[in-house]
Symmetry: D2
Subunit: 397 residues, 4 copies
């Protein structure tokens, strides 16, 4: 039997997360790195019939002038990650895959995002519909060129500003109609999601952008029989919140205030330095406390761009809580994690799980992927332990 071939298409293909994902795929395939960080490599998920790293071909869209290899080298140089030997060994794969990266589609980006777009062949389009068609053409061309059995699309692009969905976002048919009009105001992330799902490809939103978390998109996924997941990978501070807040709740310790201060220096940080774009992120990081605690403590989340940190996101959290007989106590933590390295294995995880879900004939939101996301679509459970049990249950069933 021929080896299966599957495609991983990344929107924002030359960003830190995407480039690290590609390097990881190449390094795993070549046996140069262990599976540390890969949830789907855990023994307790071994029953799942997932695609091997060697099966993957990488492609994507980007608005920036960069290649997977240049992005990897930049991370190596600035953030002091990866080793020279791994990069050199995997460089041919990265170069080959970079040839699959197509210019992004641009439909009314906000200023912070537009500033990033330095690729000269970025394609401005007259209507949302035109953008969707361009994207679908790229996806199908990639599938055919590489004879892919399956293809999964993930959004790893920069965070968009929050947007208020209009009535056209309530149902798939209304959205289809709205796409035709050049006056329709829709975030780019909605267009990519629509394109992928409408063409029958599983879609995962790795970012806080809200453009794929719409009834219209979810309805389309069910209608097309396509699995869907998101939103916003849970990699650091929020992951900790989702295990610590349940602890306080179970011990009946009352959290008065939870302050989180995040600093980071990568491109994500630059975009978040724009107050508009930051708002999406803060919302996504902050919402789960009330759900987990059963009441709303005072909470503050701030994110600041600190250039010297590059990809090393550092978070300081200060939790002020009350115990027995009115006694106030404190928990503080500092998390020093490298964003791209925390996210990349999860990208592979959700890609593998989405491809499997499609083979199993599942469609719509994949609730069993809740443990990967800050704001899991279709799931209200935020307790990481309980979310993980959902995945184990799925793997065991």
């Amino acid at each position: 039997m021929a080896q299966r071939r599957v495609g991983l298409w990344m929107i924002g293909a030359c960003g830190g997360v995407s480039a690290t994902t590609a390097l990881g795929l190449a390094a795993l395939t070549r046996g140069l790195t262990p599976t540390t960080g890969l949830v789907t490599a855990l023994p307790r998920l071994a029953a799942l019939d997932l695609d091997e790293p060697a099966a993957f071909v990488v492609g994507g869209h980007d608005v920036r002038q960069a290649t997977l290899l240049s992005a990897v080298r930049e991370l190596h140089r600035r953030s002091n990650v990866f080793d020279e030997r791994t990069i050199s060994a995997c460089a041919p794969d990265l170069e080959a895959w970079s040839a699959n990266v197509r210019p992004g589609v641009s439909f009314r980006p906000n200023a912070a995002l537009a500033a990033l777009a330095d690729r000269p062949d970025v394609r401005a389009v007259p209507s949302p519909k035109a953008a969707v068609e361009l994207v679908q053409r790229d996806l199908r061309a990639f599938q055919q060129a590489h004879k892919l059995d399956q293809l999964v699309v993930v959004n790893a692009a920069s965070t968009e500003p929050p947007f208020e969905p209009g009535p056209e976002c309530d149902a798939a048919d209304r959205l289809a109609a709205a796409l035709e009009k050049s006056t329709t105001a829709l975030p780019t992330s909605t267009l990519y999601a629509y394109a992928a799902i409408d063409a029958g490809f599983p879609y995962v939103n790795l970012t806080p952008s809200r453009g794929a978390s719409l009834p219209a998109i979810e309805g389309l996924a069910r209608a097309r029989g396509v699995p869907l997941a998101g939103q916003d990978l849970k990699t650091g501070e929020t992951l900790l919140k989702s295990v610590l807040a349940p602890m306080f709740a179970r011990r009946n310790l009352r959290v008065h205030s939870w302050v989180g201060h995040n600093i980071l220096g990568n491109r994500d940080g630059q975009v978040l330095n724009d107050p508009e774009n930051k708002a999406s992120k803060v919302r996504s990081k902050d919402a789960l406390l009330a759900e987990l605690l059963g009441y709303r403590p005072q909470s503050l989340v701030s994110i600041e761009y600190v250039e010297s940190l590059d990809d090393w996101k550092t978070a300081w959290d200060h939790v002020h809580f009350e115990g027995f007989l009115g006694t106030k106590m404190t928990l503080q933590f500092t998390w020093q994690g490298c964003d791209s390295l925390l996210a990349a294995p999860l990208v592979l995880d959700v890609a593998r799980l989405s491809l499997l879900a499609q083979r199993r004939g599942e469609s719509g939101t994949m609730g069993h992927l809740a443990c990967f996301f800050k704001s899991p679509v279709g799931v209200t459970e935020h307790d990481f332990g309980k979310q993980f049990e959902m995945l184990e249950l799925y793997a065991g069933g």
Copy 2:
């Protein structure tokens, strides 16, 4: 129908944890404080038919010259906890209950523990058996004097040094025989446990002392139809380990080293300053990592006595872990908690749950109390979330 009356007998009755427990009971009964910190007050455990605070009468043993009120005042003055108004209002209860405190029984304590014993009427005994009988006489006298429907005994005394159980600890009948001999080397905590259980009273070991975690004691509990629980309340750093280590495991992040440095300045800290006694504590705090992670990272736990901190235990933990592509990252946390205030509500929780278990006719180790302990007897699960689900299941069934 007459109001039920139940007894809470605390070994180490005038220590910080016991005195806070007594103050808490009085304050709850008088409506002076909310139930914050009390697990058994959570809505999700509401189905359990537990004794109200007002039903409790307090008594105990101690080897030190102190009263519940003097211990409360010392905590207030040195550790800056409680408020004057609550203390004043509850002083009559504390004084009345102090009259129930009997001199401790002393059978070959080690130096650090002996140094604490300044109560002149501490009773040295010629044999283990004599100690057991003295304790049982005190317990029964307390029960009769206060017409108690039930009585639960908890060990809140200072930590003993580790001890290696001999063959007499393997079975209840062998232990019974060994108690007769004056040459038998047994920790005091074994004697108290034997006395309580043999007399039919539920017993909970709140400390790291290993004297009640013996096949002989567990066998006796089953034989007498008495519920049993322990060991070592999980209040701070270890509680955090039991939620954070599963997080690392589920994300397949490899923990290379976990260093915990604890500083505290209360009597518990003074006793732990003795290397012998400290060994028990460190063992209890350190064991769970390997179970939770599935491998043994380098781990270091240190505990130091820092007088100025009084009851405010401060722990700094440094977790060094590896993510994808060999990238090392760090999580640090600082926990600043007041030991007595964290432990006291849990004492009430396990007391109430033990009394209920006895009414339900349960005997032997209470696995559903695992979430309260660092080294839960009879349970290998150390994941706090899963342990808590065992309690919820018990409450729901």
Copy 3:
């Protein structure tokens, strides 16, 4: 010889800092507390002929309905500072001094400050000049009533928004002329400073408000022969910066970024929650790094109101620096200090030193007080060690 009597007049007399200062004076006089925290009690400053605590009489202005005692009790209850015994013993002094507190003068406060003013007899005035005269009348009445040998005025009121001084702030005579006009826009802190200095009383600005740091005010102080100091007491995070930044500079370690995140929950915090008022504070905390390092690293200072912390200001600072061969390293610190308790002894220090300076015939800005302030008027040295040497030199000379 009769005991000297000196007055300490505090603008914002019933705020946390002022009330703590008053309690401290009373407690020191009664021998109830050691001199810990009082710089002027250091042996190396013993040669200075300073006024004893017993010599002080307290008075002040406030716009809020409160007394020194109620403010002390509120701090005790909410922030868990002071002990009951000290408060009770000093209550008569606090009550007596509260009788000296006069209603504040209000001339066009901004919204955040106006919201605090709940004292019904606050006196709105038609012109700056009228405000100055009211204040001077209060000061002189206080002096006469208590037969004071000297009187020092300190500004301990809430932080004002930044203001851009106009040409009338350039010289004392221009300012005098401008005061006559009702259209003149001047911060209240300028009016109080003018009033005190013009009447011959030493003046110290404890706050970040810029109203007393003007050429006109400094000229007036020289003209009237009155000593002047400020601005913004250096009590916590900035104090640390002023000892740590010189360390980095002397080791030629290059600071890339210095991030400071401050959280606090007292009235000061409430006022700072207003972006306008916060700007003054942030500016004052941030300016010294460039001076101390010789270059401008990326620096971020944030201040957030977190109600549950009350007077306990907590600061997390993250310093990212480069060492030899391009190696990036990190220093983080967390400061947990009680604002009022850190500031109050310094208020006594600067009051005593100002009174002495006046007796010595000194006038204008007191450069030897630089070590007490974040933005010392008239001094460019920000290195705490060097600033302190200036004070030692003064004391030794």
Copy 4:
């Protein structure tokens, strides 16, 4: 005029600090790295006529099988420092200098140190005198081979256990006599110091080993007209103590306890894991607090070997202090520094300053180098600011 040539002879030549120093010299000479971290590159020391990096030739002793290049590569691989390009460019220098490294001399090392000695040609000697002569022969041979104008010897070897100096350490002549006897118990560090100074070479002890801080050695240095400095480079936690403790003292804040917990994973850490050797280090880190504060707070310093940290020493310090009116507050800091990179530029600094001192005709202990050391020989001042002023004074005079 011909370019000057000076030798830098490092005992422990292939350890992390020495290898980094050599790499740094090569990189500075080639213009590949800025002078960050080098105190002697500060503008305020520009008046000193110091040797340029290009003037240095490196040699040394070591008991381990390694080269400068292999040590550099190991640091790069394990601790993620240096970049590939710098290493490659400097490799020829490192290889050339490694040819100058001679086998160490071994005279009764303790177990932890002996375990490190894997170089087969390590020379066991029959008497201290024989060791001294061997070392001197090596030094002179190096000087002649490279036509060196001057030569400085630094001790960068692993920490020795504490030792109690006998009467032979009181004077140079007594020590000379004692060296003859094979029964004399002297640490190896004394022998190296004696050899260097007796032969007329300046000597700097970079380690906590006490073997060069003896009246006999200091007397010899004066007699031979040779400058001497030490002991124990002040690179991280202790550097912070020496700026923070003066701050507490100057604000009259009473430090109750100062706890420092250090973790590290390099060879130094391995040797310190031996309790005997650790004792020297802890003593050196702990002594200065009492001198700086004027009283002795409770202080604890612990050092633990944590393999995964490699050269990244992490220190957590917890300072518990009392302010006004008995209020307890807390400062915590975490220092994450790479040991070899912090120390190496200081090695160059003290080497350059020692060579200059010799040219200036100075001999005996160099008090102006106090700012570089935890336990500066011949100086009681521990305040880093004041120590630095001593260096500035020297540079200015």
